[in-house]
């Protein structure tokens, strides 16, 4: 998206843009949520990276060994070297089950699953189809994770899925989270918490996972609580790419520390990290990357003209939350404002409602796949503002909390 937008802005005789990626499979990651329930077939979430990229941007297939920031160069594992004037790191985060004791033990792939990778979501779809009842634990190992609402959505959709199969009364569902409640922000946490309760899903809060006990088939926390399961759907620790660590550019979970308004590296002026790869205190969500890149492109034009970067990203995020039975909720928030009730994108009108379960929100979520491929990835303008608006929102609720 950044490459497509920049290619249109930058003079071809002055700037070359090269993208490095491992393969040609661009995954629609929001679709992973739907694969386990059979709503999407695996083939529906993949398209060619090459085709999504501006034809004047070369795509180099390869694995990055490391960045040499002092030499302004990127080394690939096969020995190739790419020199740069400016480097943009957009390598995201990946689930790392190997970082939790016991998680990749004997039960991995038998009763322990994740849906944050293509292979994981496909494997889980088979496990769910064979699950006829028992204890289902849905677990978040540690924040931050990609798409922080996805585990909630998984819980809501699983509830509907078991109802449709007529076995909901045979499934005991527990939502096991390191957070004090259902979500990170208080007003939304209350709304989501109520939805979990309505659906008969119990919450095990403040649960810092120490290990997965394969023998007992239980989650064990540092404060020695145990949650037994017959089927575990976990969101493993999310970490940035290993090459970031090898290059000395990352923090303890391989995220690149950046200025939260401009996404410029705190260590090197000519390195920017966009999307999930950076450490800004915003949600790791596609919407954040999209709004961030809109602001980044304007800043980048100032940066290369040796002017101060005057545009400030505000941490704007919005997320649809599937709540099952053809309905969804929507939240819209930024660094300063937590998700509030109201209407979106047009204040007072909508058509979508914030923090409420509606059919329209669900249609918005399903339509988003088209928007993703046809508007966002090609870098075409979206008709919603990159910065968040408080107009039409219940800001009075903040003080009442």
């Amino acid at each position: 998206m950044a490459a497509n937008k920049l290619r249109r802005k930058l003079a071809p005789n002055e700037w070359e843009i090269t993208v490095v990626d491992a393969d040609d499979n661009h995954r629609y990651q929001p679709g992973y949520l739907f694969i386990p329930f059979g709503t999407y077939k695996p083939t529906q979430v993949t398209k060619s990276r090459r085709k999504a990229l501006n034809k004047d941007v070369p795509l180099v297939y390869g694995e990055i060994d490391k960045v040499l920031p002092e030499e302004n160069a990127v080394l690939l594992t096969d020995g190739r070297r790419l020199d740069y004037d400016v480097l943009i790191i957009a390598s995201g985060v990946s689930p790392r089950p190997d970082q939790t004791d016991g998680m990749t033990g004997e039960e991995w792939g038998k009763s322990v699953f994740e849906f944050y990778t293509y292979d994981g979501s496909v494997a889980l779809s088979k496990a769910l189809a064979n699950f006829d009842g028992g204890r289902l634990a849905i677990n978040i190992v540690e924040m931050p994770i990609k798409c922080p609402v996805a585990p909630l959505e998984f819980a809501f959709l699983a509830d509907s899925y078991f109802k449709d199969r007529g076995i909901r009364d045979k499934v005991e569902m527990t939502y096991v989270t390191p957070l004090p409640g259902a979500f990170t922000k208080p007003i939304a946490a209350e709304a989501f918490g109520n939805t979990l309760e309505e659906k008969g899903i119990s919450v095990e809060a403040d649960f810092m996972l120490m290990e997965v006990d394969n023998e007992k088939k239980a989650l064990v926390s540092y404060d020695e609580r145990e949650v037994p399961f017959d089927l575990l759907v976990t969101i493993p620790l999310n970490m940035g790419a290993d090459f970031v660590a090898r290059s000395g550019l990352g923090n303890e979970i391989n995220l690149v520390p950046v200025d939260k308004f401009t996404q410029q590296s705190k260590q090197f002026d000519n390195i920017f990290a966009l999307g999930d790869a950076n450490d800004i205190p915003a949600s790791k969500a596609g919407s954040v990357a999209h709004f961030e890149i809109d602001i980044f492109v304007d800043n980048f034009m100032q940066y290369i003209a040796d002017k101060p970067m005057s545009h400030k990203f505000d941490g704007h995020a919005n997320c649809f939350i599937e709540t099952g039975a053809g309905k969804a909720m929507l939240i819209d928030f930024n660094y300063d404002y937590e998700p509030l009730p109201g209407k979106y994108p047009v204040a007072g009108v909508g058509p979508m409602s914030l923090l409420k379960q509606t059919r329209i929100n669900h249609l918005g979520k399903m339509a988003f796949k088209w928007v993703y491929w046809n508007v966002l990835v090609p870098g075409r303008p979206m008709p919603v503002g990159a910065l968040m608006s408080t107009t039409g929102k219940r800001t009075d609720l903040i003080d009442s909390k």
Partner: protein, 104 residues
């Protein structure tokens, strides 16, 4: 934002009692805050608290448990022993730092 008196010194705190001004903190205040939540401070506790304060000064945010364990060198299990039940919150409270963001 409210003001309260700890050890005869006036400090500003948020509605949950977390101190809001980095420079108003000293070890005596830390000790009183620890006592208020039932933590008996040892050298090992102080090592953690000083790591939190130094790291906050350098990074501008309260470190996460993972950061205290990887960069501060005290493993998570031990942190749960030193600051039972909710180490992230308790450490920040004693160190006079904002409540950890818990992420977003």
């Amino acid at each position: 934002m409210a003001t309260t008196t700890i050890n005869g010194q006036e400090v500003t705190v948020d509605d949950e009692g977390f101190m809001t001004n980095y420079d108003q903190w000293n070890e005596e205040i830390g000790k009183s805050l620890a006592a208020a939540i039932g933590v008996d401070m040892t050298d090992e506790h102080w090592k953690v608290i000083h790591f939190l304060r130094d790291d906050f000064k350098a990074q501008g945010v309260t470190p996460t448990i993972r950061r205290v364990s990887t960069a501060g060198g005290v493993d998570t299990k031990r942190l749960f022993t030193l600051f039972p039940k909710k180490p992230a919150k308790k450490m920040a409270y004693i160190a006079g730092l904002p409540k950890p963001a818990g992420c977003v």
